[in-house]
């Protein structure tokens, strides 16, 4: 029997409380305790990127982050992008460019792209692909995803 510890996380600008095991990952706490199921469990070892969130401005696989260790940091999940029913430009771009098929990789892809654009507002195609290396997609072949991200940066069509 493992005793739970109380943690406070800053998620999407809100302070959230949860009772977690010391070894609980941020991914499991987001999904099971905080009702934020946008981040997905695809592999559990940081390889597929379906769990990608942004912590203090950097895109990371939340399945490799200890929930307890994420305290005191600013965590952003896919759920933070929509503002009052309006899609974020990245979300709009993904829809318009046909970059969404099954959609399971989509939240993670968008977060990696968002982190990239936050730090580099005009990336080259190579830089976009580099930023998305941690996100697997089995449906799209990545092309339309890259085009969507480039379109937001202003370099694409």
């Amino acid at each position: 029997m493992v005793e739970k510890i109380r943690i406070i996380l800053m998620v999407n600008g809100e302070l959230r409380e949860a009772y977690v095991e010391p070894g609980s990952t941020l991914l499991s706490v987001l999904r099971e305790d905080l009702g934020l199921t946008g981040a997905k469990h695809g592999c559990g070892n940081g390889e597929c990127g379906a769990c990608t969130v942004i912590i203090d401005g950097k895109a990371v696989p939340s399945c490799l982050v200890l929930a307890a260790g994420a305290q005191g940091k600013e965590i952003e999940t896919i759920e933070s992008l929509q503002r009052g029913g309006e899609h974020h430009p990245l979300q709009r771009a993904f829809i318009e460019h046909g970059a969404v098929q099954c959609g399971f990789c989509t939240p993670g892809m968008i977060m990696s792209a968002k982190a990239l654009l936050n730090g580099n507002s005009d990336p080259s195609e190579e830089e976009v692909r580099e930023a998305l290396q941690g996100n697997l997609c089995r449906c799209t072949g990545y092309k339309k995803i890259v085009e969507a991200v480039l379109s937001v940066s202003g370099r694409g069509d």
Partner: protein, 758 residues
């Protein structure tokens, strides 16, 4: 035809995308039901064993555990979708490393996992066989001794012939023989398999699962549990994270349903990624021995293939091997063809449908051989294919029907231009240097809904209209992420003259939607699309009839578009659907409750055609291959949604290049244990691995199918691997036959070529 289309042919945004980009799309694994428990499956550490005894008492006593089951309750026969394969929920015998032994439902996955560790199993380990050729020997360990309809491990043997190959080979000027081995690969859909089962107080079972079919599973469950079908509701949620053939049928459903019944609570099973790799179906490994005879001018005169298909421990169906024959007859004219195929059991993960089915591996073998034959004859590989291609009007041997449309020629011509084929042809491997460029191609055809008149391909659709003119389209097949929902809505909107945004689609709920088969075999567009067109046409007819009375214009002078009925030629003056349905006369009579339905029997099978071209750079020192550019040119009949077709082909390149170069699920040769069941070591391509990609859509518009469309899902992957392999051959002259062409495989082949052994 010939009229201008309004919605079909447009790249409209996919329905459901808004949910997916917001993270609010609920996949099976996101479901939460009150009191829901979590299941874990105990898996065999032996590739072949009898379960002599099993003690679950300690597991049952662990706090938080609500139910444990073994073969004692779960040895229920589950007939997998295609009949001849059979699997028990849990058997008292395990047949591959990872096979089901017991299952636990508990308050959390952690507790369930702990409980697994408390289950005591007494295994009688049996000798196992892992290689298909070994499994065919009479002294091989038998995987299914209980099946008296199976001889040894040979589940199926199929011989199909046309003409007389011996005569053909005798007439040939040149005969070529090769042997190809294709590997075990995994669908690797991003969403792991997941399912939820829940019983109510009246003995009704509801299940939600990420699957490619709802009805075929419900029917199998009804049979297994000896329940009326009406008491089982099987729902595929609106969002499924990819299937590619791997989310079809697994006897896990029996297990989860039994756990839910025993525990008295809903139970969710979600597979961990490592389980997805080696305990769900893989693509069948194959061996092909090919023999092809040609005339000096390049005419094919005889083709023979002996195939072995490794069906694994539990077969998907006794048609894997026999279906492969069909692909020999769809692309090229050849008077003499012979196919001998075996489906063989081994103690390896069950294999089955994966994008392209056995078409993908056999096309790899056939197209690799044909490219080499072209070079051997001094012919341009593209001209060699075109010379032999079936043309419109030619009879397809497998069903005796003529080809009604073919975009192959256009695909080849446009594709080779796009890749820069001209001037690249030379003797394979004639260039020196550490880094060598090469160019290659491959063609494909595929059969979409059912091949022969003895096979059935049926789609159903139900359409309901609301009084405000908006509609509900009910279809029995799921959307696995390929956009079926949108494609069908486009067809409905076009056929009816409705607004796309006012058609809401409900899929794959066995209590609500009409019967449907599987979202697979690239059949949806033709089969379900045909039904949708019919149902929509009937709805339109009804609306025009009602409008005709209101407008006092004969119905045959009316038309509908964008939700408005108008007299032909006078589109500005019309009645909206809402006007019609809320008209007092209509409303009073109750005639505005309109439901139309259609059952569409695909009249004849319409093969799609296409090509892929690859331009590669080979580092001959390390064996690494970089695919620089790929062009896919596909005859899709008509693209209902061009952007969606592109997406399928671009995704097909990722899967196809991986099949050619990097993907393989490897098993320990002595224990059958999977060695690389994680994305760390099962290498799928990432954004940085992809080549420049170009898609060319060819639209011959077949006269017999819904809007002339043929489908694309499976075909998208078929030509990719042989195109890459042929480009490597062109670059280096090295003849590689086995997949994947890893750097070390290629280095070895290059060395052998140096030594002149090839």
């Amino acid at each position: 035809m010939g009229e201008e289309l309004n919605i079909v042919g447009k790249s409209v945004a996919m329905k459901g995308s808004g949910e997916k980009v917001s993270g609010t799309a609920e996949y099976t694994v996101d479901m939460r039901l009150p009191g829901m428990l979590y299941a874990k499956i105990l898996r065999s550490p032996h590739a072949h064993a009898n379960i002599r005894g099993i003690d679950t008492s300690e597991a049952e006593a662990l706090p938080g555990v609500r139910a444990v089951i073994t073969h004692e309750e779960a040895k229920i026969l589950y007939t997998v979708t295609h009949g001849s394969a059979r699997e028990y929920g849990i058997d008292d015998r395990v047949r591959y490393y990872g096979d089901k032994v017991a299952a636990v439902a508990a308050v959390s996955e952690e507790v369930a996992e702990e409980a697994l560790g408390l289950i005591d199993v007494d295994y009688e380990v049996l000798p196992a066989v892992f290689e298909m050729e070994e499994a065919m020997r009479s002294d091989a360990p038998v995987v299914h001794p209980e099946r008296d309809d199976v001889e040894g491990n040979i589940l199926e043997k199929s011989v199909q012939e046309w003409g007389d190959v011996e005569k053909g080979f005798a007439e040939a000027d040149h005969v070529f023989e090769n042997r190809f081995i294709t590997q075990r690969v995994c669908h690797s859909a991003l969403e792991p398999h997941a399912m939820v089962a829940s019983w109510d107080g009246d003995g009704n079972l509801t299940m939600w699962s990420s699957e490619q079919t709802a009805f075929m599973i419900r029917d199998s469950l009804a049979e297994a549990f000896q329940m009326p079908r009406s008491k089982i509701r099987f729902i595929v949620p609106p969002y499924v994270g990819g299937g590619f053939g791997g989310k079809y049928e697994s006897a896990e459903k029996i297990v989860v349903a039994l756990l839910a019944r025993k525990a008295g609570k809903p139970v969710m099973l979600r597979l961990a990624r490592d389980e997805v790799f080696h305990t769900t179906r893989t693509r069948s490994p194959c061996i092909f021995e090919t023999k092809t005879g040609v005339k000096a001018d390049g005419t094919l005169v005889a083709r023979e293939v002996r195939a072995i298909v490794d069906v694994g421990a539990y077969a998907w169906g006794a048609i894997m091997a026999s279906r492969a024959a069909s692909y020999m007859t769809l692309l090229y004219r050849c008077p003499n063809i012979r196919y001998l195929g075996y489906g063989v059991y081994t103690n390896t993960p069950p294999s089955g449908a994966m994008r392209g089915f056995t078409s993908t591996p056999i096309h790899y073998a056939m197209e690799s051989e044909l490219e080499e034959i072209a070079y051997a004859l001094g012919m341009d590989p593209t001209e060699f294919r075109l010379k032999n291609a079936l043309n419109v009007g030619d009879i397809i041997p497998i069903n005796g029907k003529p080809v009604t449309s073919s975009g192959l020629r256009e695909a080849v011509i446009r594709g080779r231009e796009a890749i820069g084929w001209e001037g690249r042809q030379r003797v394979p491997g004639s260039e020196g240097g550490a880094k060598r460029r090469g160019i290659g191609m491959a063609c494909y055809s595929h059969y979409a809904p059912m091949l022969k008149s003895t096979e059935r391909s049926v789609g159903n659709a139900v359409l309901k209209i609301n009084v405000d003119g908006s509609l509900h389209l009910l279809l029995g097949v799921p959307d696995i992420g390929q956009g079926l929902r949108t494609i069908m809505a486009q067809i409905a909107a076009e056929a009816l003259g409705a607004k796309l945004d006012e058609i809401s689609v409900t899929l794959a709920d066995t209590s609500v939607t009409p019967w449907g088969t599987t979202t697979a075999a690239s059949r949806s567009t033709q089969e379900t699309g045909g039904a949708v067109e019919m149902a929509a046409g009937r709805m339109k007819g009804r609306l025009l009839e009602l409008a005709s009375e209101i407008m006092d214009i004969p119905a045959d002078r009316l038309d509908a578009m964008d939700g408005v009925v108008f007299a032909k030629g006078v589109p500005e003056q019309g009645l909206t659907f809402k006007d019609i349905l809320s008209h007092p006369d209509v409303h009073q009579s109750g005639e505005n409750v309109i439901i139309t339905k259609a059952t569409y029997n695909v009249p004849t099978f319409i093969p799609p055609y296409g090509t892929a071209f690859a331009d590669v750079e080979v580092d001959t020192e390390t064996g690494r291959v970089r695919v620089l550019k790929m062009v896919a040119a596909s005859d899709v009949g008509r693209a209902i949604n061009p952007q969606s077709v592109e997406g399928q082909l671009e995704g097909g390149m990722q899967m196809g290049i991986g099949y050619a170069l990097t993907e393989e699920l490897r098993l320990h040769p002595e224990t059958g244990e999977p060695l690389n069941n994680s994305f760390m070591d099962y290498k799928v391509l990432r954004a940085g691995d992809m080549p420049e990609m170009e898609v060319i859509i060819v639209e011959p518009v077949d006269p017999n199918s819904v809007y002339g469309a043929k489908g694309i899902g499976e075909m998208a992957v078929i030509p990719m691997a042989p195109a890459v392999r042929n480009a490597i051959y062109n670059a280096t002259g090295a003849r590689v036959h086995d997949l994947p062409i890893t750097p070390e495989v290629l280095l070895r082949a290059l060395r052998e070529k140096e030594k002149g052994k090839c």
